[in-house]
């Protein structure tokens, strides 16, 4: 495996979707390649930064409306 190919396999690698054989070749390559090690680390870091976008406060008005809808649902006619 060569760097140009290895970078395209990184998501498969992180997802555990490589065959056992490809995984071994991938890891052999990474072990001896600073560039690909850095790229893999960048992708991991990217993934974790994206994860931070999950935290977003609910606007107070929207939350109040939804809670009010929940209460009407709870007290409404049920099948």
């Amino acid at each position: 495996m060569i760097c140009r190919e290895v970078v395209e396999l990184m998501t498969d690698y992180l997802d555990g979707a490589l065959s056992q054989e490809d995984r071994a070749r991938f890891e052999d390559h990474i072990a001896g390649c600073n560039g690909c090690t850095a790229y893999l680390e960048q992708l991991r870091r990217t993934r974790s930064v994206i994860g931070r976008l999950a935290a977003e406060p609910v606007p107070a008005g929207l939350e109040a409306e939804l809670l009010s809808a929940f209460r009407s649902w709870r007290s409404g006619p049920r099948p």
Binding site: V7, C33, N34, Q42, I50, R52, E56, L66, L67, F70
Partner: protein, 205 residues
């Protein structure tokens, strides 16, 4: 996979537990907003989509039997609401904006080929980010750039990366919610992460 972590949430919701409902609304607001923003014109329209999603969930809750996880069900509803909304808006949006190029399923290289030498080895290797302080990576400005990079992705990539990396679904759940093959799921995720990485690389250097 017999018992899912959100089984108890579903039971509590059906029993009318407001605190559980409120916690779900808060937990999924970020991922739902990101998902919605991709389909509509602005934040206010995206908030409408999120609101309509929850109202639809409430209307359908009694009929939901938990065949999929609660989270998968909620995000499936959100996708429906957002896509319906987009179809309605399509009548007033410029025709061309509906046919933007989408290379989401392409197997073209995700790294600029000029960065590799003739033998396919790095010519311009990526920087080592281990020296970049965490405070910089997680600064408000960095997050804003990442957010807008995701909002600019072609729709098929955007859906996958939001469900995987913002909402935290696993690969299998995303393939199921979007009705795509595991292979397409991985290709789209890879292209999307590579695009966001590139934005970060330009910013963090």
């Amino acid at each position: 996979m017999s018992r899912r972590p959100d089984d108890s949430d579903l039971a509590a919701l059906k029993a009318g537990d407001e605190a559980v409902f409120q916690a779900l609304v808060q937990r999924y607001h970020g991922p739902l907003m990101r998902l919605a923003v991709g389909y509509v014109r602005d934040r206010s329209a995206a908030e409408d989509v999120v609101q309509e999603t929850w109202l639809t969930c409430l209307r359908s809750l009694d009929r939901f039997e938990g065949r999929s996880s609660l989270k998968t069900w909620i995000f499936g509803i959100a996708l429906n609401v957002a896509r319906t909304r987009r179809r309605k808006d399509a009548r007033v949006l410029p025709f061309a904006s509906l046919f933007r190029r989408d290379d989401s399923d392409s197997s073209a290289p995700t790294v600029d080929p000029r960065r590799f030498g003739s033998e396919g080895k790095w010519r311009t290797p990526p920087d080592d980010w281990s020296n970049v302080p965490e405070s910089h990576v997680l600064s408000r400005e960095t997050l804003d750039r990442v957010r807008s990079a995701i909002d600019r992705l072609p729709p098929r990539q955007r859906e996958v990366i939001i469900l995987r990396d913002v909402a935290g679904f696993d690969a299998q759940a995303v393939s199921a919610v979007l009705a795509i093959t595991p292979e397409n799921q991985r290709v789209r995720l890879h292209r999307a992460r590579a695009a966001v990485r590139k934005v970060l690389e330009e910013y963090l250097r």
